[in-house]
Amino acid sequence: MIEVNELRVRFGAIEAVKGVSFRVPQGASFGLVGESGSGKSTVLRALSGLNRDWSGDIVIAEKGQGPVRDKDFFRRVQMVFQDPYGSLHPRQTVDRALSEPLLVHGIGDVDARVRRALAEVALPAMLRFRYPHQLSGGQRQRVAIARALMAEPEVLLLDEPTSALDVSVQAEVLNLLSDLQRARNLTYIMVSHNLAVVAHLCSEIGVMQGGEMVELLSADDLRAGRISHPHTKALRALSIELEEPEMAKSA
């Protein structure tokens, strides 16, 4: 479904992504993990078409993609952003935000589709005409997910979708993402710095450091510790150490 080959991204003199390659079959979820500055979000933005200065090959649904994408691409590939407080237009109601993709693509039956979208992300209908500042962080993120799904895409790019949410809300959103993937056979690429979250949702994981993909492994391998690269080992060790609340040391 998605094939990336030798992707390179420069910002001025700095090469933020140095030749990254990976493949994601249809219906699968791929995780990109790494520290801040590792280049993982940059890869996602290049894939989404938001960033046009890249070189290499990006093939989505068997079509090679160039720097400028067409409307058909935007119908197939959508993105969910990290910050729920910035991803919705402050002066537009939920209804308007959800209608916009339909209006741009010329899809009819707007009212029914909006109502269905709200139900699909488990948002009560009474939120339909609220403004973003009247919603909680979790509710906004659900709206963002609903918005991404309005034009019935095949691929969802998720940029740290739960990093800014409380853990209980994170659990709900992650469950929602799993359910949606199963129901619609979506392909996910998720970026996160939280290994536990990525391993929960994704079957294949790419580890990035300093702009390079230092390791490609399955979630099972990561859990079991069948790791080759030291950076991955360090990330896993840290995640496990901080995961469990510390047990009382014997006096």
């Binding site: 520290e35 801040s36 500055g37 909680s136 962080g137 409380d166 853990v167 209980s168 809300v169 994170q170 659990a171 709900e172 992650l174 469950n175 799993s178 710095h193 939280n194 290994l195 536990a196 979250v197 391993a199 929960h200 979630a219 990561l222 859990r223 360090a234 990330l235 896993r236 840290l238 995640s239 496990i240 150490e241 901080l242 995961e243 469990e244 609340p245 510390e246 047990m247 009382a248 040391k249």
Partner: protein, 276 residues
């Protein structure tokens, strides 16, 4: 240095009448590390800030006691509070980009904090600033001292912030979600740094976070807050055996790297937790 808070209540005016954000919170803290954990809206930030009376103007605070080292915080005048804030107790916030002055270099801000509370010459303050930056484990302190906040990474900015707060040699440090904007690796480094500095200087620490396992690693005691009340108080090592369903819920809904869960447990909020 003892902090004592008894029956703290904080309310905000609203069109429907005053709404209480903190509803009867009590705790005491000595030379130890206390973690306050809760989700957004639980009142954890307000609780900690009330010790320094750093609340928004429209907040209505009432309590039986709020004491900092014997000083009655509720009744103290502004001059007394200013002698406490900064000099005896420091506050670190979440995003250094917003809490550091963007038009001054890191070194200048730390030197100013030093100078304001310790006096001395400009040169002494400058040297002290570089020394503090080294203490917060910045590799090239002289170079970083001349950098502006927007040139610093998130982790370095937080270290500069910590250096600034430690300059007057305070007795208490309040850290309000200091690492929520940082990635996992830097988070751990910063918290270890805070833990180390606090232990070495014999300070008290209040660490506020929404991350329960994280807090349990860096604190001696943990308070869990929900909807303005403390629902559980436990020693850090005993959290895994927590009793209150909300605390258990917080722990259970986390994804785990070692234990795959097909579906994450979702918190069922019992209205009984809201108390009377």
């Amino acid at each position: 240095m003892q902090v004592v808070v008894r029956n703290l209540r904080i309310a905000f005016p609203s069109p429907q009448g005053p709404t209480e954000a903190v509803r009867g919170v009590s705790f005491a803290l000595g030379q130890e590390k206390l973690g306050i954990v809760g989700e957004s809206g639980s009142g954890k930030s307000l609780t900690a800030r009330s010790i320094l009376r750093l609340l928004p103007r429209q907040a209505q605070v009432s309590a039986e006691t709020i004491e900092f080292d014997g000083i009655d915080v509720l009744k103290a005048n502004e001059t007394r509070m200013r002698a406490i804030r900064g000099k005896r107790a420091g506050l670190i916030m979440q995003d250094p980009k917003f809490s550091l002055n963007p038009v001054m270099t890191a070194g200048q801000q730390i030197a100013e904090a030093w100078h304001a509370h310790r006096g001395g010459s400009r040169k002494e303050a400058k040297d002290a600033a570089v020394e503090l930056l080294a203490q917060v484990q910045i590799r090239d302190p002289k170079r970083v001292a001349d950098m502006y906040p927007h040139e610093l990474s998130g982790g370095m900015g937080q270290r500069a912030m910590i250096a600034m707060m430690l300059a007057p040699d305070p007795e208490l440090l309040i850290a309000d979600e200091p690492t929520s904007a940082l990635d996992a690796t830097v988070q751990a480094e910063i918290l270890r740094l805070i833990e180390d500095l606090v232990s070495r200087r014999g300070m008290g620490l209040i660490l506020i976070s929404h991350d329960l396992p994280l807090v349990s690693h860096f604190c001696d005691r943990v308070l869990v807050m929900y909807a303005g009340r403390v629902v559980e108080e436990a020693r850090a090592g005993e959290l895994a055996r927590a009793k209150h369903p909300y605390t258990r819920g917080l722990l259970d809904c986390l994804p785990s790297l070692v234990q795959p869960k097909p579906r994450l447990a979702v918190m069922r909020r019992d209205p009984a937790w809201l108390g009377t």
